[in-house]
């Protein structure tokens, strides 16, 4: 049971990193990013490839994951920032699917649909089981704390004020002499780099990567998390990711109480449970658990 809880905690903390990035993109800046999983995928594969085929230390993989995911966001920013919000959403969705197709097709690098197995686990030296699991959760907590600290500093700064101004009315920002593109590109790169780091943690935690782990559903799980937690709130990203895990994993135990459900049906029931939760949230608490944009 402890191992199971540690596993849930690790995955939840990875989702918090993703949700923080999306909160920066959408909740604070208003960028409708439907391709968050693309940055996550780049980070995971960067870490996987460098630590297996590349023979590099794990730390190098983490740095590469952040840098490559951030770099991938740069051209998307340049190309799409002239687009209207809805087109930006489509472009990002297309980007993440392109990333998935590239890692599926480029077998020489990614091993195609077979994926990359044998990615070294973090803290293997501590021994398999609880010691290493706790160490991983500890490191993830530290990284999350650092990201949250960074985000609070950003939000309370003049930079944070500007990105929220862009979210509220971009034309007014332009009319008042500031270039929204400058801010949006930086925001995109920062959130993407964080998703890349989340990907590196994921790869080293699960131990293998295959393209199927990076379907758009992951992006929408992150969206569900921030909607349930409250868009535009850092605390909303944290609480939302925790809620998401509660619904995803909690629905696992439904099998013990609900009769006549097979393991196969269960997978659908779990997604249904999250969907139902989302519908209930938008009906009864549209601002999310922690409240939405309005800061006070």
């Amino acid at each position: 049971m402890e191992a199971y809880l540690a596993a849930i905690a690790a995955i939840a903390l990875i989702y918090v990193l993703l949700a923080l990035g999306l909160t920066l993109h959408y909740g604070l800046t208003g960028l409708i990013n439907f391709g968050h999983v693309g940055f996550f995928c780049i980070g995971a594969y960067a870490a996987a490839i460098l630590s297996t085929k590349g023979g590099m230390p794990i730390a190098v993989g983490f740095v590469a994951a952040a840098v490559l995911a951030g770099l991938a966001a740069w051209p998307i920013g340049l190309v799409s920032l002239r687009l209207r919000d809805d087109y930006f959403a489509i472009v990002t969705l297309g980007f993440s699917e392109t990333v998935r197709l590239v890692v599926t097709s480029e077998r020489w690098l990614t091993n195609g649909v077979q994926g990359i197995p044998g990615i070294p686990r973090l803290f293997e030296g501590l021994g398999v089981g609880m010691p290493s699991a706790l160490a991983i959760v500890g490191v993830l907590l530290a990284v999350n704390a650092a990201a949250i600290w960074l985000f609070f500093r950003l939000v309370k700064s003049p930079f944070g004020r500007m990105i929220e101004a862009i979210r509220d009315n971009e034309e007014a920002v332009r009319a008042l002499g500031k270039d929204p593109a400058r801010f949006k590109i930086r925001v995109l790169v920062l959130g993407a780099a964080l998703a890349g780091i989340a990907g590196a943690f994921y790869a080293h935690y699960i131990g293998y990567v295959v393209p199927d782990q990076f379907i758009p559903l992951v992006t929408f799980y992150v969206w569900m998390a921030i909607i349930m937690g409250g868009v535009g709130r850092i605390s909303g990203a944290v609480v939302g990711a925790a809620l998401l895990m509660l619904f995803l994993e909690g629905s696992r135990f439904l099998r013990d109480v609900v009769p006549f459900i097979s393991a196969v049906d269960m997978a659908s029931v779990r997604i249904g449970a999250v969907g139902l939760a989302l519908v209930l949230f938008t009906m009864f608490r549209p601002q999310g658990l922690m409240g939405d944009y309005t800061r006070r």
């Binding site: 700064s157 003049p158 509220d168 009315n169 007014a172 332009r174 009319a175 002499g177 270039d179 801010f183």
Partner: protein, 252 residues
């Protein structure tokens, strides 16, 4: 000349929304543009402020051709606009709305934020002092900490003017500042505009509310179907037959 428009033209399909418009605004001038609905006033404003590109003609500001400059670059050169329907930052407070308009803040760059925190703090203090002055001047103190989305229509217009002021403008373009504003605030807004004009800030104002505008401006241009049909002192312009024709539909 602060602002000079020459032969500014813009069509939508076959429709000439703005048709060869030329006029200028002197330094510190107080100029109005009136015209019936659909005369092309808002399109003209978008051409001047850089939200639309003209098909032909030029816009120059302090002798520099700015026809091809982006909207934010025009604003940085000292010409800033407001919007007919206020575009406040709804979730930021009035104070934050004004702070966000202060130019040249190094705290708005990531490098400044993390490498020069002391400079950022000092700049923020200066910005806050300026914003406090503007809040006092515009009498927005009671709502200073209110999210701007909750303000009344008139208060939002005041806030738009306040944000424009924070950019240290030489010329402010006001798009229907009196529309949807109660009479008390119209008077207050007019007073503010006069005071600011007295400090040397030029104004170009599009308006429907004729009495309020004619009392305010020294020069009036009348637009009809994309063209300027009359220009001059307000009283003279308003008594011109072609203006009465355009406005009153030929009723004499």
């Amino acid at each position: 000349m602060t602002l000079t428009l020459s032969s500014l033209t813009r069509s939508f399909g076959g429709f000439r929304a703005v048709d060869s418009v030329s006029f200028s605004v002197d330094e510190g001038g107080l100029v109005g543009v009136i015209g019936p609905n659909g005369a092309g006033k808002s399109t003209l404003f978008s051409l001047i402020s850089g939200f639309l590109a003209p098909d032909s003609g030029t816009v120059s500001l302090f002798g520099e051709d700015i026809t091809r400059l982006a909207a934010h670059e025009r604003a940085r050169r000292g010409m800033v606009r407001t919007f007919q329907v206020p575009r406040e930052y709804a979730h930021l407070t009035v104070r934050e709305n004004l702070l966000a308009a202060v130019p040249g803040q190094s705290g708005e760059t990531l490098r400044g934020l993390f490498l020069r925190p002391a400079a950022v703090r000092a700049e923020e203090q200066t910005a806050r002092a300026r914003v406090a002055d503007a809040i006092g001047f515009l009498r927005l103190s009671p709502v200073a900490e209110t999210p701007a989305g909750r303000l009344s229509g008139g208060q939002k217009k005041l806030l738009e003017l306040g944000r424009a002021l924070m950019t240290n403008p030489k010329l402010i373009l006001l798009d229907e500042p009196f529309a949807g504003v109660n009479p008390v605030l119209v008077a207050a807004l007019s007073d503010h505009i006069r005071t600011l004009n007295g400090r040397g800030i030029g104004f170009l104002i599009i308006e429907h509310d004729l009495p309020a505008l004619t009392r305010l401006v020294s020069t009036l241009h009348v637009m009809d179907r994309g063209r300027i049909i009359a220009s001059g002192a307000p009283e003279a312009v308003l008594s011109a037959p072609e203006v009465r024709e355009a406005y009153l539909g030929g009723v004499s």
